[in-house]
């Protein structure tokens, strides 16, 4: 095996620590780098729940010490704010439901960090993502789901191009999370039993709606039933996501007496449309910004599986690319499809490509 110069992105969590240790053990020349993503680290999530606190930086440094690799902190706060946080806010303002982890992989870890690493002489960026990389048909690299289906992160990596995947290293894809924790303990890594991170790392208290209100201000609007009846009001349409049932603040039961779900968000007027569950069902989806990393861009209709949200179900579908766009026809209706989320195309466990949902019906 060729020894590569590898930059291991180390969040301070157990996965990236074990990934770095494995890359080192495999004979690569590994340097650990913690990405500082906040200009004010205490304002982001603390301790076990976050990815960018002082404590996490120290955990990452300590893991690098134990592994025996050099360690540095890279300040990516400016890029992170511009490309991830502001994008997150702008997407909600547009009535979309963004996935910031996906954006971080696309714009930070495998773009800003990878570019800087390559310029500094590194060959690859190693992370603790649960996904596999395999040789593709045309000599490229394709992305495949983790063996641990519950922890699989191929969905948030599917936005990467084959060039980006060719510079990536995911040493944990063949390992379950339980095995990773056990291995961390065996290696003497103190982060072995550190809890998993959840939610959005840059929203300290987990209150996404409150965070968005702080960023976007109050923007009152109406909640309208599908039949046109005004059933309530809200102070910002960004507080809603397609398919949402809880926290709608509707003050009376619907005419048919059945629960109501968010069907649509009109950011200009601020109107949030609600209706019964079956009205959420869609079969036709349009998506933009298509990336085909696991195959050549299809020239005609493509039978595949499509996943429409993180940790969501897969749906048999026919995809028809049209330049940068993809039209997706689901074999069976799916519910709660939000614009801004990624549609990721799979052949079995292998990622073919992805696109960003813009419309559905």
């Amino acid at each position: 095996m060729t020894s590569l110069r590898v930059l291991a992105a180390m969040s301070g969590g157990v996965d990236s620590a074990v990934a770095a240790a494995r890359a080192d053990e495999a004979g690569h020349d590994v340097t650990g780098v913690h990405l500082a993503l906040s200009r004010n680290p205490s304002s982001y999530r603390t301790g076990a729940r976050g990815c960018c606190t002082l404590e996490d930086a120290r955990d990452a440094r300590r893991a690098a010490d134990v592994i025996g690799i050099p360690f540095y902190v890279w300040d990516m706060a400016g890029r992170f704010h511009a490309d991830v946080v502001q994008d997150f806010v702008a997407e909600y303002a547009r009535g979309h439901t963004p996935n910031p982890c996906l954006r971080c992989n696309e714009k930070i870890k495998f773009a800003a960090v990878l570019d800087r690493a390559v310029a500094l002489g590194f060959d690859a960026v190693c992370t603790g993502h649960h996904a596999r990389l395999e040789p593709g048909a045309d000599g490229g690299t394709r992305l495949v789901r983790s063996v641990d289906a519950a922890k699989d992160q191929s969905y948030v990596l599917a936005v990467l191009t084959s060039e980006q995947l060719g510079r990536a290293m995911f040493p944990l894809g063949d390992t379950t999370k339980d095995q990773v924790r056990k291995e961390a303990a065996d290696r003497g890594l103190a982060v072995a039993d550190k809890p998993d991170s959840h939610d959005v790392c840059f929203i300290a208290d987990g209150d996404t709606r409150g965070f968005l209100r702080g960023q976007l201000g109050s923007a009152p609007g109406q909640i309208v039933d599908v039949d046109g009846t005004v059933v309530g009001s809200h102070d910002g349409s960004y507080g809603f996501t397609i398919g949402q049932r809880k926290g709608l603040g509707i003050d009376r039961p619907a005419a048919d007496g059945r629960p109501r779900f968010v069907l649509g968000i009109e950011p200009v007027s601020g109107t949030v449309t609600v209706g019964p569950a079956e009205a959420l069902e869609v079969t036709e989806i349009e998506a933009g910004r298509a990336v085909w990393s696991g195959c050549l861009p299809p020239v005609g209709p493509l039978e595949c599986l499509v996943q429409l949200r993180a940790h969501g179900d897969v749906h048999p579908a026919v995809c028809e690319p049209d330049g940068d766009l993809v039209r997706i026809s689901l074999r069976e209706p799916a519910r709660g499809i939000a614009s801004g989320q990624a549609a990721v195309f799979y052949d079995g466990d292998a990622v073919l490509g992805s696109a960003t949902i813009t419309r559905s019906r």
């Binding site: 050099p70 902190v73 310029a119 500094l120 003497g188």
Partner: protein, 411 residues
């Protein structure tokens, strides 16, 4: 923990060789220096001895004798009387004691004495002590501006004092800057303070060992010195405190060190400190010439490899520490350069404070008028007693390619 297991219960675990690369080219003496053999031997021997210097029995007397002999050596080297040497746990503690203690003492005499004068380029031990006094103790921080070379003009200090001499509690101006090596005209500045009987403190941590530092000749009220910048151990320093000056203690306890600094004295560290001071003082003049010569060659080699590199701070000469070189490399991030040089076994520093390991633009360079990009793209190379021509040559051979790479990375 394989390291611990292999080491067994009674051995200190030895880190993997790659964890602590030997950094064969060590250009970071302003951060800390290798211990001189005489200091290491003295400390090791003393660690095996018993005795608290405050005890009255034989073991205590023996320890006390070691401390007092050390105190006399240090006092002589720095132009002080033995009673003017107050041992501390290092430079930061001595700076805190001087700034806070003298402020409190002066304020207690006259409530109007609220102003603290200091340069904006002080080490954080002084800078943050002054800020803390302003935030919590009613002090008014009066920051003295510096010229683009980092030097503070006596006229500027005179003007600041004369705005209202009765309101000045204490003045603190560092002898030589830890980042860019600027040497301040300490005697002139101290004289201005003395004209108004205002206590004058100077952090001489970087100056001691490279410049002739004397409490008596400088006219300062208090000087901070520390051991590990001159080949002694980390964790011991001293405040040289002129007779008659009584700062309010920061640490209260057993009343050691003239009641100014309580705490059991660290006899092995103090003995090693004295050995390092003695060795550094004996060879200081020759060593300063040697370091200046090496440093000038380092500057020449860097400018030859990177013609647009900018030397920060004063030009080489009496206005600059002989072991200091500090450059901005246009178009580079200092931390990327540091990493590339580290990978080649060359140790240097971005010379700036860290938050979560994130390099902040140096407050020293910003105070000298540099913009943020220039401040971020800078590196400090500091020479000391272990430096050799081969270190300078290794840097000269590596810097060109490293800068080229770092420039590509910041595009």
């Amino acid at each position: 923990m394989s390291n611990l297991d292999a080491a067994g219960p009674d051995r200190v675990p030895v880190p993997d060789a790659r964890t602590a690369p030997a950094s064969p080219v060590y250009l970071d003496h302003a951060a800390t220096t290798p211990m001189l053999p005489a200091a290491l031997a003295a400390m090791t021997a003393e660690l095996a001895e018993l005795g608290n210097p405050s005890s009255l029995h034989n073991a205590g007397r023996r320890a006390r004798r070691v401390v007092e002999e050390s105190r006399e050596l240090i006092a002589e080297a720095y132009g002080a009387r033995p009673s003017e040497v107050v041992f501390t746990g290092g430079g930061t503690e001595a700076d805190n004691l001087a700034v806070k203690g003298l402020y409190w003492a002066r304020r207690a005499e006259h409530a109007a004495r609220r102003r603290v004068l200091a340069t904006a380029t002080e080490h954080h031990a002084v800078l943050d002590s002054v800020r803390w006094l302003a935030e919590h103790e009613g002090a008014e921080a009066d920051w003295l501006p510096v010229q683009p070379t980092g030097v503070v003009s006596p006229a500027m200090l005179a003007e600041a004092i004369e705005r209202d001499p009765a309101s000045v509690a204490v003045i603190s101006i560092m002898w030589a800057n830890n980042e860019v090596g600027t040497v301040q005209p300490i005697a002139e500045l101290a004289e201005l303070a003395a004209e108004h009987q205002i206590p004058f403190h100077s952090d001489a941590v970087q100056a001691a060992g490279q410049l002739p530092v004397s409490l008596a000749e400088s006219g300062a009220t208090a000087l901070t010195v520390t051991a590990h910048k001159i080949g002694g151990p980390v964790g011991v320093g001293a405040l040289l405190l002129a007779k008659g000056s009584e700062p309010v203690p920061v640490l209260h306890g057993g009343g050691q060190e003239r009641d100014v600094r309580s705490g059991t004295l660290d006899v092995p560290a103090i003995r090693a400190f004295a050995m390092a001071v003695q060795a550094a003082t004996e060879r200081r003049a020759d060593e300063a010439k040697r370091l200046a010569w090496l440093r000038d060659d380092l500057i020449a080699q860097i400018l030859a490899a990177v013609p647009d590199a900018v030397l920060n701070g004063p030009p080489p000469g009496p206005g600059r520490l002989p072991g200091n070189a500090h450059f901005s490399f246009p178009g580079c991030e200092g931390d990327a350069l540091l990493m590339l040089l580290d990978a080649r076994g060359i140790a240097c520093s971005t010379g700036s404070a860290c938050t979560a390991g994130v390099a902040q633009p140096s407050h020293v360079l910003l105070a000298m008028g540099a913009d943020e990009a220039r401040a971020r793209g800078s590196l400090r190379f500091s020479l000391g007693h272990s430096s050799q021509q081969s270190d300078v040559d290794a840097l000269g051979a590596a810097i060109g390619e490293a800068v080229e790479r770092a420039r590509r990375a910041s595009r």
